[in-house]
């Protein structure tokens, strides 16, 4: 098969480009820890029972009790997504805190994207979406549903307040 010399050069350049990109992505993941959600261990979530108090951490009442302080400056929060709100939808933590989000849905698929962070997850019934971020800057950060979830989709959001 005839391959022109210039085309061969171009092809090698393309391969090199891809390798450079792959290395950059690898560094961002390994050195900076920018991770994708992956199924967390130890959960067995049934969307039909996940909101039941006592059965799952997403059933705790009132919803504000789903924010747990694990250690000074270290939090975890269990957010239940449903049409068309998150519970809890106002979370307050002190500046400098590290917080891990565990989000699931009791009805349709939702999304969860937190402003100014690398937190961006699908929220799928039967699954648990888990990501962690640290907040040094005080402020109000919106988390917004970014997957169509019905006619009220555009009203679905919550706020993380860093004091």
């Amino acid at each position: 098969m005839h391959i022109d010399r210039t085309e061969k050069t171009f092809f090698m350049f393309s391969v090199a480009l891809i390798i450079v990109f792959a290395i950059a992505v690898g560094i961002s993941g390994m050195v900076y820890g920018i991770a994708l959600p992956t199924p967390p261990e130890g959960f067995d979530v049934n969307p039909q029972t996940v909101a039941t108090p006592g059965v799952s951490p997403w059933g705790e009442q009132p919803p504000d009790a789903r924010l747990h302080e694990l250690a000074p400056g270290e939090y975890e929060v269990y957010i239940l997504a449903q049409t068309w709100l998150y519970l809890p939808n106002r979370i307050t933590i002190p500046a400098g805190s590290k917080i891990t989000f565990y989000v699931t849905s009791k009805d349709v698929i939702h999304g969860f994207r937190l402003d100014d962070t690398n937190i961006n997850m699908m929220v799928i019934p039967g699954e648990v979406s888990k990501l962690t971020a640290t907040f040094d800057e005080p402020g109000t950060y919106n988390f917004v549903c970014h997957e169509y979830c019905g006619v009220g989709h555009h009203t679905m959001y919550g706020q993380l307040i860093v004091e």
Binding site: A35, R113, M122, G126, E127, S129, H146
Partner: protein, 547 residues
């Protein structure tokens, strides 16, 4: 020549463009809503219940119906005209067309009645009326039958021409349909095993994560199903229109085989942020998606080199002077060349989307519609428009109506798309505004989004006007009284190098199909096995009609 095939092609194209007219109608309204001009109360007068019903029509009709009808029609036409042999069995193609139209009508009723406002992705547990799923399944099945008609024709040609290799355009068209048939198995399994029994109440629950996995098994390669017909034209026809030759024909064959091999086992790059897919599988699909970049880069080289041959043959001189010498007075050529330029940016954005954790920055933001309007909305659609500027005159026997308007159509689409796509890309990247959302009335609307959303709305309005020009030209051509002076033939580019010898491995379906199946099994087998073997505990989601 091939009168009955031409007539069939005309039908496929007719349904395609009628669907695009309705689906495209909603585009400018969506963008205007984001910019603060909410016309949905007025649209209720024509029975549109909500922004989201309109958006479902926009997505289903444009991305699923328009494309599939156009592609099956165009690929049938290109196969026959490339082989210079009529369809082996017209009845098979007629059945394909009828099944597709019946499916479309069945699916259209619930959408129009606001009983299937589930977007073109129809992610369960959103539960549409059962006939929505049945109708869309029939459209896919009909497209398979259209593919079958092409294979029968290629097989008959093989028998009649022993020892000859399949001409490039016919080969590329056939590979496109084979790729689609394998790729659409994902959505077929989703429909037949998960959604239809569930929608009819036979199964009480479904597995949303599995459904998304099966959808994107089809959902990424469907992008290549949209693009490859454009590539058929860019490689096989445009060089001829530009007065050039296909720079390296055998490499072009290899590129199409690579697209068959690599288009499918990459779907998890749409699910990078899905909670139920382990990171290892996401990494594998990210790497495979990167490898898909290589045939795209070869395409960029070969196509541009082929056009350069044309520009130089037309007297263009110097490093870039050949570009000016290209046939910019031809609407068919111009539309396709502008589509290519837009696709360059679409490709760069696509690489961003595929880059594993970089995806976190843009997943499900406005960036995504900004991106795919450059691919399906430009590389595919604007190329299909360009093809139509010779194909519709060919099929109707009439001269192109108002060629200057057609030229203006191509440029306005280009300009409108730049504004629209740039606005959406930037607002998505910088501010994370969500996609498929009625942004203008959202409580978290950020005033900083406004300039970009207004830019997008201006672009969308220009695109709407450009669309109207397109329909004027096409309808004007079909009903024109001015007959063609001489019959139009499908442009077929000659090979630049002497490539009369095609290596056997580039002219043989079996090894490539087997390799494709093996790669899919490796990339998808274990996860699908996991999902299905845990069906007893996973199929727990009831359906919701929440619109």
């Amino acid at each position: 020549m091939f009168k009955r095939t031409n007539k069939l092609t005309g039908w496929y194209l007719g349904v395609a463009f009628a669907s695009l007219f309705i689906g495209g109608f909603f585009g400018p309204f969506q963008s205007l809503e984001h910019a603060g001009v909410n016309l949905y109360p007025q649209l209720q007068a024509i029975g549109v219940q909500s922004y989201y019903q309109g958006l479902t029509l926009h997505g289903v009709l444009n991305a699923l119906v328009f494309t599939t009808f156009f592609i099956v029609g165009f690929m049938t036409f290109s196969t026959v005209n490339s082989l210079k042999r009529d369809l082996a069995n017209h009845t098979v193609s007629v059945v394909s067309l009828v099944v597709m139209i019946v499916g479309l009508l069945i699916a259209a009723v619930p959408i129009l009645l606001n009983k299937a406002t589930v977007m073109f992705t129809f992610y369960p547990p959103l539960l549409a009326n059962e006939w929505f799923y049945v109708g869309l399944t029939l459209v896919v099945v009909g497209s398979w039958i259209g593919g079958l008609s092409m294979y029968l024709t290629v097989a008959a040609w093989r028998k009649e021409n022993p020892g000859e290799s399949i001409p490039f355009i016919a080969l590329a068209s056939t590979i496109t349909m084979i790729m689609w048939q394998i790729a659409s198995l994902g959505v077929a399994v989703e429909m037949l095993i998960l959604l239809i029994p569930w929608a009819f109440g036979i199964a009480s629950g479904t597995d949303p994560q599995l459904a998304r996995t099966l959808f994107w098994f089809t959902g990424h390669p469907i992008v290549y199903f949209w693009l490859l017909p454009s590539y058929v034209s860019w490689y096989g026809m445009m060089p001829k229109q530009a007065g050039g030759k296909l720079f390296s024909e055998n490499l072009a064959r290899l590129v199409f085989w690579l697209f068959l091999l690599l288009s499918i086992p990459v779907g998890f790059h749409h699910q990078f942020v899905d909670p139920g897919v382990p990171a290892g599988w996401k990494t594998l699909h990210s790497v495979l998606t990167y490898s898909l970049f290589l045939p795209s880069m070869l395409t960029a080289f070969t196509v541009v080199a082929s056009l350069e041959l044309g520009g130089r043959a037309r007297g263009g001189k110097g490093l870039l002077g050949w570009i000016r010498a290209l046939p910019w007075d031809s609407p068919s050529y111009t539309a396709q060349n502008l589509a290519m330029i837009l696709f360059l940016f679409g490709g760069i954005g696509g690489l961003t989307n595929a880059s594993y954790n970089v995806n976190l920055a843009i997943h499900n933001t406005s960036w995504i519609p900004g991106h795919f309007h450059l691919t399906v909305g430009s590389a595919a659609t604007l190329t299909y428009f360009g093809v139509s500027y010779w194909l519709v005159p060919k099929l109707s026997g009439n001269k192109l109506f108002k060629p200057k308007w057609a030229l203006a159509q191509a440029w306005t689409w280009f300009a409108g798309m730049i504004l629209f796509s740039n606005g959406l890309h930037v607002v998505g990247l910088n501010f994370g505004s969500p996609r498929r959302t009625m942004l203008g009335v959202s409580p978290y609307f950020n005033d900083a989004w406004s300039p970009l959303l207004i830019e997008a709305a201006i672009g969308a309005t220009i695109l709407g006007i450009s669309g109207l020009i397109f329909y004027t030209v096409i309808v004007g051509t079909v009903f024109s009284k001015q007959k063609l002076d001489a019959p139009i033939e499908m442009p077929v580019a000659e090979a630049y190098h002497d490539e009369s010898h095609v290596p056997a491995w580039l002219d043989s379906f079996k090894p490539w199909i087997i390799a494709t199946a093996v790669l899919i099994l490796v990339a998808y087998g274990p996860m699908l096995f996991y999902f299905f073997s845990n069906a007893a505990t996973r199929w727990t989601s009831p359906g919701f009609m929440v619109w």
